[in-house]
C-alpha cells in the first residue's frame, strides 16, 4: 500500500507509521526531517514550502512504487508539508515497512534522497537579513 500526502496540516509521524502497519512487517524505518535553526552558521527564523502539488504527488507516487518494487516493501508512506514552518517543525516524514529490516533502511534512504532530487517542492529560508530560495543558485 502506498500513502502519499502533501498537506498544509502539521505532520504527525505516528500517522505515517499507522499507514504502514502490517502484521507481516518485521521492521519499519522512518525518516523525519526537521527545520534546522541554522544554515552555514546563519540563524534561520522560519521556512516556507511551496509545492506544485499535483506533480509533487505524482513524483512521490513514482518513488514509492520504485521502493515497493526494488526493496519489496510492504507499505510506503510519504508525507510532505506545504506552508510555513518554525525551527524544529517537520517538513517531511517517510515510513517504509518491510519483512526484513535491512531493506527498510536502504529503501527509506532512497526515498528521501530521491524526493530531494525530483519532487517539485521549493523551500525558502528566512534569515534576519533576508530570505533565499534554497539551492536555487550554484
Amino acid at each position: 500500500m502506498i500513502e502519499i500526502l502533501v498537506t498544509t496540516d502539521k505532520l504527525i509521524p505516528q500517522s505515517s507509521l499507522d499507514a504502514v502497519a502490517d502484521p507481516s512487517a518485521g521492521g519499519t524505518t522512518q525518516f523525519i526531517g526537521t527545520v534546522r535553526n541554522q544554515t552555514k552558521g546563519k540563524k534561520v527564523l522560519k521556512l516556507e514550502f511551496e509545492a506544485y502539488v499535483p506533480m509533487a504527488e505524482k513524483e512521490m507516487q513514482k518513488i514509492a512504487e520504485e521502493v515497493e518494487k526494488r526493496w519489496n516493501a510492504l507499505h510506503v508512506s510519504m508525507h510532505h508539508h506545504v506552508g510555513t514552518l518554525e525551527v524544529g517543525e517537520i517538513p517531511v516524514v517517510i515510513s517504509v515497512a518491510t519483512s526484513h529490516r535491512k531493506a527498510a533502511f536502504e529503501a527509506c534512504q532512497y526515498a528521501i534522497d530521491t524526493l530531494k532530487e525530483t519532487v517539485p517542492i521549493w523551500k525558502k529560508e528566512y534569515f534576519e537579513d533576508g530570505e533565499v530560495w534554497v539551492a536555487a543558485h550554484p
Binding site: G33, Y52, A56, K116, V119, P120, I121, W122, W133, A136
Partner: protein, 80 residues
C-alpha cells in the same frame, strides 16, 4: 502559438508573477521555450538548473508542446 508558463519558487520571483504568457512561432519544443525564457529574463540562466514539466511530467529539450498543455517551469527543487 500562445503559451502560458506556470511558475513556482524563484521562477515566480523572476517573472514577478505565477504565470507568464507569450507568443511563439509554430509548435515549439521545450528547448525553444527555455531559450526564449532566458532571452527575456536572463536571471533564469543563473539558476543551478532549469527544468520543465508538461502535464505534470518532466520533459526534455526536444519535447514538442501542444496548445492546451500545462507547462510549468521547474527551478532547482529543495523539498524535504
Amino acid at each position: 502559438m500562445n503559451l502560458t508558463l506556470i511558475a513556482y519558487g524563484i521562477a515566480k520571483d523572476i517573472l514577478k508573477g505565477s504565470e507568464s504568457t507569450f507568443s511563439i512561432k509554430g509548435q515549439p519544443t521545450i528547448g525553444d521555450i527555455k531559450a526564449k525564457l532566458i532571452a527575456d529574463h536572463p536571471a533564469f540562466a543563473e539558476l543551478q538548473s532549469l527544468k520543465f514539466a508538461v502535464n505534470q511530467d518532466y520533459q526534455s529539450d526536444d519535447f514538442k508542446v501542444s496548445e492546451n498543455d500545462e507547462i510549468v517551469i521547474i527551478p532547482p527543487v529543495s523539498g524535504g
